[in-house]
């Protein structure tokens, strides 16, 4: 199939070149947006089926199809913690027909990995941030703590005895735990799992004492208190856990961890294609059905302009870079 594609593109290369020239010309006169989108748009999901990204991505694809007036096809391209799928988009033509949805790993990977196949800030740009979701701090049921300050006090009284779980090196639950250690001076051991869900049996039997978990991962275990939720990591309280204090409220001022998701495109998209795509996304994100679907997994829809998105991306990049460097967490 691939070779057929290569062959076809070889045959049509001269035609394509001519067309590309025409498009570039048209773009400068603002005609591209009138024709865009004239064929289905591909939304790459850089993780395996089954996670939050898969669910949010497919929901967005469904609603974006309506607001964009073209089919948006969600496609899983998993591998290397999201790098493989993001890379295919970074290398594709910036025509608005190939976009990717990513989580904070997109800003963590460049700091953590010794080599990257693409340059995040040169080869990709934000179309729009699309969602925001706090993490929830959960503790083992045997642990005698009811809130964040008690956890800190307990951890300080038992230095080096506590374990915290994560979904793997460099994932948001891991770095949130590191940030917590750096902010409080608590000494706890990081125990990575392949997904946060796998850590719950060990947390129920008190082999793991606490974790910064995604809300979707924690819900099955917190509804009947098999593990105890004690705080959420947004600056505002979570609608899923309205009774829980935020970490910020409980004394660690400004402590915020956001499991955000954003949609990215290869750099150099014509301005009118960008604005059309951003507009269609913004509209899709206001759809009550989408908002309801997001809320079921603890995710809040949030649209931004490309500029706001880029500024947010940079601030997240700097924030996690500092945590990784201060904590001396480094791959290879």
């Amino acid at each position: 199939m691939k070779s057929a594609k290569v062959l076809r593109s070889l045959v049509f290369a001269p035609v394509m070149l001519a067309m590309a020239g025409a498009v570039t010309f048209a773009a400068s006169t603002g005609a591209a947006a009138q024709t865009y989108p004239s064929k289905p748009v591909r939304l790459v999901l850089p993780y395996s089926p089954g996670g939050i990204i898969d669910y949010v991505g497919r929901t967005v694809a469904q609603h974006l199809s309506t607001t964009l007036g073209q089919q948006v096809i969600a496609e899983n391209r998993p591998g290397a913690g999201g790098i493989t799928g993001t890379d295919t988009v970074a290398r594709s033509t910036p025509d608005g027909y190939t976009i990717v949805i990513m989580d904070p790993a997109i800003v963590i990977n460049p700091t953590l990995q010794p080599s990257m196949p693409y340059d995040l800030f040169k080869q990709l740009e934000v179309v729009s941030m699309i969602s925001s979701s706090p993490e929830v701090v959960v503790v083992a049921p045997e642990l005698p703590v009811k809130n964040m300050s008690e956890l800190i006090a307990y951890a300080k009284a038992n230095p080096g005895k506590l374990n915290f779980a994560s979904a793997g090196i460099g994932t948001t639950p891991h770095l949130a735990g590191e940030l917590f250690k750096q902010r409080t001076g608590v000494d706890a051991t990081h125990v990575p799992y392949k997904s946060i869900g796998q850590s719950y049996p060990d947390m129920m039997s008190n082999k793991i004492q606490f974790a910064f978990s995604s809300i979707a991962g924690a819900l099955p275990f917190t509804t009947d208190n098999r593990v105890r939720p004690i705080a959420t990591t947004g600056l505002k309280r979570s609608e899923v856990y309205p009774d829980l204090q935020t970490v910020d409220e409980s004394g660690l001022k400004g402590f915020e961890v956001d499991l955000w998701l954003g949609i990215f495109a290869p750099s150099g998209m014509p301005a009118d294609v960008m604005s059309k795509l951003n507009g269609a996304l913004g509209e899709a994100l206001k759809n009550p059905e989408l908002i309801k679907a997001f809320a079921k997994v603890g995710v809040t829809a949030r649209g931004t302009s490309p500029q706001e998105g880029a500024a947010f991306l940079k601030s997240e990049f700097d924030k996690w870079k500092k945590v990784i460097e201060d904590g001396k967490i480094k791959d290879n």
């Binding site: 899983n76 493989t84 080096g160 460099g170």
Partner: protein, 499 residues
């Protein structure tokens, strides 16, 4: 409410027209994707997820469960017919199953797989009904140390499982372990054995490895043989297993079912071990074990029953604890949450219709698999009548497309090409690939559990002997080693191999 009224409630829910329809649809889709390489149950469930949001949650879960165990069954069909195990659990089935097909006994092999699975499914349904809460508590007793010892025991059993030279079997297990280590290390994120290839960052793809060694390398070996020898495989023979076959298999099915039911409850890889363990057990306890690996029908019946029983009881940790045993179940949990149902101990009391409906549908689904598949056997074996010169290129094409479509990753196809050469050499050198596969699958899990156990114990290795469960497995592993190492037994074993 007692168990029987619960089961009655379950059948009341599962036997409505709508739910039977979804159950049949799931079982059928599952069989189809199980037969097709490259598209597995995970992808299928993921694609159907948006549709399931519009369904009644019970119907949605019934359909997904059908896909899951249907795929297990479909995977065995290809393992028997063309020696391509699509999933780790059907690797063992291909050992004797494909040999049977080549002897013209594909019909009985497929038949016993269906009947054994059905029996195991029936028993497992009852196990789930009666034993869910206590079995779920047992699963919670398993921490990293216990899982490590269980895996170690399984791996040592793999050496016993091998035919021929023990030295070769150990070499293959160790090679399998090394191949399994490729990719990103869970604890440090360091990439091992990737040689700078991005495509190897997640390790070697199982399907690429197993298709290369079992599917294509076998083709190459067959091509070397004279046409007359190969043509034997085209002989079809009887379609259904004879009554003698069935009677011969009853003890194996019973042992496989009980082993599978118990191991399936462990979410950390127990179900995967079930078919391997059942096969090993059969070789140890069955009469005339030397025919194993040469097309013994019991070598199909035991792992197939274990596999299906394990697939079913692995719903226990999911439905009662909310802990998924595999990615397909993680998706099912996701689907339930979207419906506002949080999987966990409360499901049984809050939504008895859902819990018992799904349990009852498993039995209906298994019945459907038999009904769907027994008539299909005639069709499947007609496939074997196809001349091998047409079959070979079809298998190679099938494998390449299948491997590529898993991750849309060209590296996987390259990896497959490497393992075709490797597998060919192994077969030429008379090295069994089964221990390699087991080492490959269990190695990374073992490492993960070992390091996690040591991380939590702060490097203290006594955790493995202070836990009674872990100690039990370690003792069992030591006994197994002793059996293999005892010179008298070994001599006898080698004598048996000469024949």
């Amino acid at each position: 409410m007692d168990v029987f009224s619960n089961i009655a409630l379950g059948f009341g829910v599962a036997a409505t027209f709508q739910n039977i329809l979804y159950c049949a649809l799931g079982a059928f889709l599952g069989t189809v994707v199980g037969v097709l390489p490259g598209i597995g149950p995970v992808t299928t469930v993921a694609m159907l997820l948006p549709i399931s949001f519009t369904l009644e949650p019970t119907s949605a879960l019934i359909m997904m469960a059908g896909i899951y165990y249907g795929a297990q069954y479909g995977g065995s069909t290809t393992a028997i017919l063309i020696n391509i195990p699509g999933e780790a659990s059907s690797v063992v089935t291909s050992l004797d199953g494909h040999k049977m097909a080549r002897m013209g006994r594909a019909g009985p092999a497929l038949g016993i797989a269906a009947l054994g699975s059905f029996f195991a499914g029936t028993v497992a349904t009852f196990v789930v009904s009666f034993g869910a809460p206590p079995l779920a508590r047992m699963a919670l007793q398993f921490g990293p140390a216990e899982y490590f010892s269980l895996m170690l025991c399984g791996l040592i059993a793999a050496v016993v499982l091998a035919r021929g030279s023990i030295v070769k079997a150990i070499a293959m297990v160790v090679l399998g372990l090394l191949f399994g280590l490729a990719g990103s290390d869970v604890n440090s994120g360091v990439r091992r054995f990737t040689f700078g290839f991005q495509g190897l960052a997640d390790g070697i793809e199982f399907v690429a490895l197993s298709m290369a060694i079992y599917g294509i390398a076998e083709v190459a070996i067959n091509l070397e043989r004279k046409a007359s020898e190969v043509a034997v495989a085209g002989r079809v023979g009887s379609v259904m297993p004879s009554w003698a076959d069935i009677r011969h298999c009853i003890p194996s099915v019973l042992r496989g079912t009980s082993l599978g039911s118990v191991l399936g409850v462990l979410p950390g890889g127990g179900a995967l071990l079930a078919s391997f363990a059942a096969y090993t057990l059969e070789k140890k306890v069955a009469s005339h074990p030397r025919t194993f690996g040469e097309g013994d029908i019991r070598g199909v019946a035991a792992p197939e029953s274990a596999n299906n029983a394990g697939a079913q009881t692995s719903f226990i940790p999911m439905l009662t604890l909310g802990i998924p045993s595999n990615p397909t179940m993680a998706l099912m949990i996701g689907a339930l949450m979207v419906h506002g149902i949080t999987p966990g101990p409360r499901v049984m009391t809050d939504r008895p219709d859902l819990f018992w409906g799904v349990v009852a549908s498993m039995w209906i689904g298994n019945l459907m698999l038999v009904v769907l598949n027994l008539p299909m056997i005639g069709l499947w074996i007609r496939l074997l009548r196809m001349p091998y010169r047409l079959m070979f290129p079809a298998i190679v094409g099938f494998c390449c497309v299948g491997t590529y479509t898993i991750n849309s990753n060209v590296t996987d196809v390259t990896v497959m090409a490497f393992f075709i050469v490797f597998g060919y050499l192994c077969l030429k050198l008379d090295c069994e690939p089964a221990p390699l596969i087991l080492g490959f699958v269990l190695g990374p899990m073992m490492e993960e559990y070992l390091r996690r156990a040591l991380l939590i114990s702060r490097g203290d290795p006594t955790v493995f002997v202070t836990s009674p469960i872990s100690l039990g497995f370690l003792i069992a592993a030591a006994l197994l080693l002793l059996v293999v190492a005892l010179p008298a037994i070994r001599k006898k074993r080698e004598e048996a191999m000469v024949e």
